[in-house]
Symmetry: C2
Subunit: 439 residues, 2 copies
């Protein structure tokens, strides 16, 4: 079935109801007000905020909301007679946000959302509902903030069969890792600073344990490979284990450490994973500093495309929210996942046992004669070749850190070797492993 | 007036007539054949090549053209009854390419083109003609090869008021500069290699003198600022003057040299210029190696977005050609320059006398006492402050190279100072100046 293009009648204004007036909501109102002339020229019609909802009506958000209908109940926007499109900026994969999106679609209203958790968990169902209702469901702002990566994959690179995507999708993790790298500080210390600066939430789990990036990656997977989103099969690893010492060894080996979301498609299936990874110092990812995000896409025609920009912040995220709104107003809203929802396939998702690549291992061992030989011997028994080794002995404690980079090996072999190393009587702590990215 | 969305009837296939079967033309046919299933799912209809034209029918291009109507005369495509969209891959701003595009539009056919010279010189008129005829005129492949920069500016960042764009828009120049940088070789030497590898044309003037980048920059200017394209006011400088010595001094000062196209909008007007520039070694542009292209856009909502990808090559350029085709087939072709052609403004274009920034100057002087003091004294008389100086004396010739980086100064002051320095009796050659990019 051919999906009908979504058209707003004649050249009437597109009327928005914005749910949530936090940083992004207020910035969205501001962009629409500041750039009214440009937006209407680009969209071919005016864009108007006619209704909003937020917890506190009286709060000064630096935007003029006079003449805008203030609804105490966000769900009122889903049935508001003057609203063509609900902009959901509440967040969370359940509760009011989900109800609002579902009800708005059911009531024939278009929806623009910045809600990564909601889209990651219910995106396939919501896009099917939107197709059935003949409305648009767009969520550029859910992934990589201001970088229009979803539009780029869905449209800008529509000629391509995609093979791989990798991205720095969480600004908090990148801020922490790059501060550790530059200043030699420890994770906890930098996390505290990030929380003070407002770059990290309290508690920081969603960011530093990788779940925020995982939600974004699931969305990219669905879009790039035309498959139904699944969070289940995803390997998710955060950055808590990265120590100042790993930064030093990485530097000596010619690498930086970045928190990546990687999704790949092969004959065998789709593998999506989020983890801290070694990237070469001259790679584009190594140049991504502080709270920036970055994306890298591989396709059969283009080869690869790298993008870098702000992954968060009110105005940058509003840039993506308003982009979706302009597309909708211009009558060029694409299907949520690039194809009609009924064409999304059920993919076979692979777990990390299918992974292979180079690995960084750091062992804290007793500083005794023959330990390094024992370690490399044990690795050889597990068919693991060592490319480079560094050793750092501490005379006071009579212990040593052994850091090494392996050849390209299989994850199963590495895991088996790590289990064996952890049992060795010279091992003081469990082996610390970080994957080396092939990008 | 609201521009009507361009729709192909029902879900009939979109039928293409491709003019020009060189590297890009053949790659376009291949991408369409290889990714048929994906393209029709993404476009909501099939995409078919029904006619082609090229000089030599018998040449093997590695693509199956059986069943495709081969026209000896490219202009036949403009009146071909089965062609919905003409894909113009001939090139050149006059002759057959221009006639084909004009006639196709006049006959109510959509046009997708990769022709930067044609669009730079006649883009405003052609987009007006396309609007009048109710057809699409799209040319993503004309700028930065596979990087979908036009779509990104026009749609992905549609929320933004743009202030500045900078790009590495010519892969040949970037190949030459980065080879000179890495290998310490001279311009002529690397150019010869680039010609052997097929990275540079013979003669190489269009690339190394900056005109190819200038055409691309004019297109970006029109799109980003919503103004009628003009090539007249543009400052265009190539890379022939860059010497191995400049690379060394740049390195010592902490910079790389890249050939940039920069366009800015301010209250006073639009300034577009193409020139080699010093960029900081830790800037994203410094990481752009070999034939890659890169783009940097500043907007009021996003802040900035950087993109890097292949700027040339058959498959990468075909990625952009086919993107436009998919947009057209999906019914979401946007206006050529982002807004209806009648809304494009006449901009005031500024020349380089309005430029200000830091400058690198290299002087070849007699190695005599007091010359450096004379040079800095003369600069001071022209209100020019010096931030850093390096000197490299050659005992054999009793001459010296003085290299310096100025503070932020006005172009008019710099030009006056250079004229005075060129007159000084200690100057052996004219002063060599390279601007320092603020990005």
């Amino acid at each position: 079935m051919l999906r009908a293009m979504i058209q707003i009648e004649g050249n009437k204004p597109l009327r928005l109801g914005i749910a949530g007036l936090g940083t992004v909501g207020a910035a969205t109102c501001k962009v629409i007000a500041d750039n009214q002339d440009l937006l209407s020229a680009r969209a071919g019609r005016a864009i108007e905020v006619v209704a909003v909802s937020a917890r506190d009506k009286s709060k000064d958000r630096g935007v003029d909301l006079s003449g805008v209908d203030f609804c105490d109940d966000a769900l009122a926007l889903a049935r508001h007679p003057d609203v063509d499109c609900v902009v959901e900026l509440i967040g969370g994969d359940a509760g009011v946000a989900r109800q609002l999106v579902e009800q708005a679609i059911a009531n024939g209203k278009h929806v623009v959302s910045a809600n990564k958790a909601l889209v990651a968990k219910h995106g396939a169902a919501l896009s099917a509902a939107a197709d059935t209702a003949g409305v648009a469901f767009l969520f550029e702002a859910a992934v990589a903030g201001g970088i229009p990566i979803l539009k780029t994959i869905r449209e800008g690179l529509a000629a391509n069969r995609f093979t791989q995507f990798a991205g720095i999708l969480n600004g908090t993790c990148n801020f922490i890792l790059t501060a550790m790298e530059r200043e030699g500080r420890d994770f906890d210390d930098v996390l505290a600073e990030a929380q003070e600066r407002g770059y990290a939430e309290t508690p920081p789990d969603l960011d530093v344990d990788g779940w925020d990036a995982a939600h974004k990656l699931a969305i990219v997977t669905g879009l790039a490979f035309g498959v139904k989103l699944k969070m289940d099969a995803m390997h998710v690893e955060g950055i808590r284990r990265i120590a100042a010492q790993d930064m030093q060894f990485a530097d000596e080996f010619g690498y930086r450490i970045r928190h990546l979301g990687i999704t790949k498609q092969s004959e065998a299936g789709v593998m999506q994973a989020v983890y801290p990874a070694f990237v070469k110092q001259d790679s584009a990812f190594a140049g991504v500093q502080r709270v920036l995000n970055a994306t890298y896409v591989e396709g059969d025609a283009i080869g690869s495309l790298f993008m870098m920009g702000p992954g968060a912040g009110g105005a940058a995220t509003a840039s993506s929210v308003v982009m979706d709104v302009v597309d909708l107003a211009a009558g060029r809203a694409a299907p949520s996942f690039g194809v009609a929802s009924e064409k999304l396939k059920e993919a076979a998702f692979l777990d990390m046992t299918s992974h292979s690549g180079a690995y960084y291992l750091r062992l804290h061992v007793k500083d005794e004669d023959g330990v390094l030989a024992d370690v490399t011997g044990l690795l050889r028994e597990h068919s693991i070749g060592v490319e480079r080794v560094l050793q750092d002995a501490d005379e006071a404690t009579q212990t040593a850190q052994i850091a090494l980079i392996t050849h390209l090996e299989k994850e199963v072999d590495i895991q088996a070797a790590i289990a064996a190393l952890n049992q060795a009587d010279y091992s003081i702590n469990d082996v610390h492993m970080v994957r080396v990215a092939a990008i």
